[in-house]
Symmetry: D2
Subunit: 357 residues, 4 copies
């Protein structure tokens, strides 16, 4: 994963590459955010918006009179002046739409989860590589100040060796009909973990429940095992009376709490830990573990919208032929975990190994 | 499980049964609390305290000059003026000490977890029944105002049908050497759930990790499946930089959050929920789930020390030959889950059925 | 103060009065909110926007192509098709602009504080009355679900007799140059109190400090005395490292905490209080005050933007010749307190009586 | 004020001065804490406990069989083996009891507020000086890790020039009958401020209200002015449904929040501030104040009971003839503010100058 440091985000001022013409596909919940951002991203020109439902296009047509509004995806892909598409449809449609676009020679930014299966993700990666096109997945959180701070803390060793990663993302609603709560909510946390830790799990165990007949699971728990002693766990729930977005990362040097609902101080770093001392005969029932209780520190995080940073990064990657921070492989790694999690879920937590190519 | 309502706690004033002479066994972390409470419980007389370590007895001897301090458990059991023993030793010793006491005709209050195995728990229950003795397990939380309020809410149907039970008990330290974090911390939550819900799980899946060589698991996650659509989950961690003690119970009528660290308002009840509407063609990706957002309500909880209520209840049970609220069967049910959880933990979450007698 | 109940907000569907043509004056911080709302309020037509700074009009012209953008206020007032103006300029300009508008026969909605002096406020009220025009002040919080709930609690006697009203509104920035922190921040709380309590103070004492040479006070404290035993206090600070927006209202039956930063549960009602018992000789140092600790309750508040409700109310008042909930007299009452507070501030808290007309 | 650094607290191990024999006077709410601590303080020997109410002495006699329990204060003072008395009676009795003790040649530790009037405090100071006796006031918070950390931050200039000091101490109960809420609660905060800032106010303004006929004020607000631009404010309330103990100190370099109810992280330091830039013509309504938003930091505070540190310090002062950190002058400074505050309170906030000797 090619990660550029913070200062390298954004286009170099001295270079003046030609504009990237972008079409946004899908105008449901998330599409309008992509439209708003690409309409304002330097280096990008929003040229078209596509949705099967013409009604959804009407208000956008009023707001963006210069942008082509269409229900005809094939015609859009046939246009030589469209360089890239950003796909924000329901999950099941990601693969077909992205494949068509890549086949038509368009760069692709696709919503998360990238695809509904590992096989599909692998096919998109191969296709993009063959056609020398940028394939990027919209793991938005990787572009937030908080998550980038976490990645810094981990990669520079400030947390020490990682012991556990514990994440909770629960609230009341919005139920999805086509995917379960793991594919809807855990996808955010798996994308964060993938970016922040740079490690892949080797096995998963998932449990959960569907409380509404015929609907996907609305409560789920996912454990990820790694080759190291790291253990990760995710708690997802569409039925919680309270909203929680909190991740705790325990290292053997420092520990970190990331609370995305905090207006400021989203990240708190605790100089706390435990380490084993030599066992001694006097230690009867208590293990000789040495606790350390130190300061807490909440670094100031730079403001700024993650999606703006991300749309700029996509344009950079297209213009300069760079590998996106959240490339197709990142999307694949997340889908790999989700696919294994679904298998485990169906077997009440039975462990499922994750095979890497 | 014979549960008496709130007003039945405490001895009837008109009856004047003879005092129950009690000995407390084990003066480590918890024993002194039992000593302090039984020394002040009406109907009880603290007659002896026993610990293998004579050093531990010295300060207690100064504080309780009238109480016999001894390191000789066998001699203590031989005394005809000892009616009951309260056992607060490390877990591995519970069974042997309790069995000896029951064989000697003493009533027994034993710390949680009641025993280290299901077989041991079953043997103690049988022995107590045969000898017509009270066997009670110290599931202290069942005697708190908060947990008794939860039981009321559940049993009167105010939460509706239960959907999930989610519990978090994490903090930094105190590591145990002889039991893992499930047996140390989840035992509290399993005892609470057993008392509050009155339902037994049929299968479990547990995951976790030991981060210190040769030590038991310090982080663990446990899922309990039930015959109904209820799912329960427990998160335990000795390595968390922050302390959390929070349980969320979701019902289809109301939902409840129990935060044991709140100085007041430990219980918050949310008039919130979700229910499925008829599917309709217009509902494309969103399931037709109807959300309800209503008031929140935090009932005032009566003050009072749980252990005092519990010690009084133990004396009542001995004097009046009553079945304790937290009897040997309650202790067994909790051990049954823990034993299955350990099996699952060793298999990375593989589901383990719980067989009931 | 004519207060209509909730269901009376909004225009009756069966009546179809002609549209109210509105011009918004001032496009600084708040003006764009008025523009956005009046552009979407049923019964209103946004016909013009005016600012002395033509640069500020440019982006608005692009967004509202059908709306006239002008820097000429006199010409705007001369237009016969403008029915009403909404004034959102710096405070010092409120009076002159509102007077001109009323003289030109236009209805007026003016930002808070309504004017810079009591005399000005009185003149505007008289002028509006003489010309049979609506004069409304933008006390936005009076249109929030939370504040309307507080008013309900107070007016129906659920809090009992009011004992105190304590308000804190502190944060870092934004410093004002033309008014001090009382006129900038306390104005919100005084407007809330005026609406919620329906009582006017009879005297004030204010203290504070300016920490930057030549600038107005950036920290201030204001006490309001009433004819009753009610006491109100306001804490305002532009220099606080933490943001707090919290009001506590103590009644002798119940007490209420309003925390505007809570995402849900903005209002918490405590069934707590104290009342005096007969003094008795045994009560040596402790007064015989009886404490009551009961439940806490957080009513669900209806969602919805306050400014939308307010703009609709303004249109209703103009169309149907109604007295606004936050009419000129409400604006005057708030200015009266602020003017007295400034006098007290200059004398380090010396009490200043408030004379009512 | 002689302040020794942390490591100097406690008696030097190499020195072995003779034990200080101490009597505790008054066994109401606070006295038992003094008894418990002096009974365990190295260098001290608790020799007697005195209370007018013999009933209060009974349980203490059982607990401390070696300590003389008496209702005869004069006889106690006549004993040559009593070196010092610790006075924990109601406020009105402090002066007479302390004077008698000092006249009898006893060192004195007296509860806060030291006396009921400035004149009384001055007389005690003079008497102690004349008789070469230690006079210390029990400003307990000065011995907590949190307040000592604040003092360090202030005295080393880490906060920069102090701008404001804002303190809130509110809860429901316990009403006092003999003193108002300022003398009961503000005394804590004034003692903290006196110790932490090392500055004395030059004037005060206080407002408040008594809601129960014939009882002292139960809600009060106090502003302190200083020679510098520092302003301090205190909010006290016996009638609040919620408990708050929070102080914010704003400096021009950093700001600090001290929340005494936080189990850990009682002190949070914000690298935030504001400073004035040169005014420029473009700055129309916003003052050119530059905001700085930086990290937050919560230093780990050493555990330990403040009263133990304080009792040790008292013994040190008596043995080594040192000036206590919280000496009679500290007690006087606090009483001076309270006396002036009461005068202002009676005049609805009229400013009262504080004259220093």
């Amino acid at each position: 994963m090619s990660i550029r440091n913070e200062t390298s985000f954004g286009s170099p001022l001295s270079v003046g590459p030609r504009l990237v013409n972008i079409a946004v596909i899908g105008c449901g919940y998330w599409g309008p955010n992509l439209i708003r951002n690409f309409a304002a991203t330097p280096g990008a020109r929003l040229v078209a918006v596509c949705d099967l439902n013409a009604e959804r296009l009407k208000p956008l047509a009023a707001q963006y009179p210069a942008v082509d509004m269409t229900t005809d995806y094939a015609a859009l892909l046939a246009r030589s002046d469209v360089d890239a598409v950003a796909i924000a449809t329901p999950v099941f449609a990601h693969f077909a739409l992205a494949r068509q676009a890549l086949q038509a020679g368009k760069h692709v930014l696709v919503e998360k989860p990238m695809t509904a299966t590992v096989a599909e993700a692998e096919e998109l990666i191969a296709l993009a590589a063959k056609n020398h096109l940028t394939l990027m997945v919209d793991h938005t959180f990787a572009y937030t100040g908080a998550v980038r701070k976490i990645r810094d803390m981990v990669s520079t060793g400030q947390l020490g060796e990682l012991l556990y990663y514990d994440s909770v993302r629960i609230n009341l609603g919005l139920f999805q009909r086509d995917v379960n709560v793991l594919w809807d909510l855990a996808v955010h946390d798996l994308a964060i973990m993938d970016f922040a830790l740079g490690q892949e799990p080797c096995a998963v165990s998932a449990t959960g429940m569907s409380h509404f007949g015929g609907q996907p699971e609305d409560v789920a728990y996912l454990t990820c095992y790694f080759e190291s002693k790291l253990i990760a766990h995710f708690h997802l729930n569409w039925l919680s009376p309270v909203k929680i977005r909190r991740t705790i990362i325990g290292g053997d040097r420092q520990m970190l709490v990331y609370d995305d609902l905090e207006p400021s101080e989203k990240i708190k770093i605790y100089d706390r830990g435990a380490s084993m001392l030599d066992a001694s005969p006097e230690a009867q029932n208590r293990a000789k573990i040495d606790y350390r209780m130190g300061d807490m520190w909440a670094p100031h995080l730079p403001p700024g919208e993650a999606l703006r940073l991300e749309s700029t990064h996509f344009v950079d990657c297209v213009q300069q032929n760079l590998t996106p921070i959240t490339d197709g492989h990142a999307g694949l790694r997340v889908v790999r975990i989700l696919e294994a999690a679904n298998q485990s879920l169906a077997q009440r937590g039975a462990p499922i190994d994750i095979k890497r190519a």
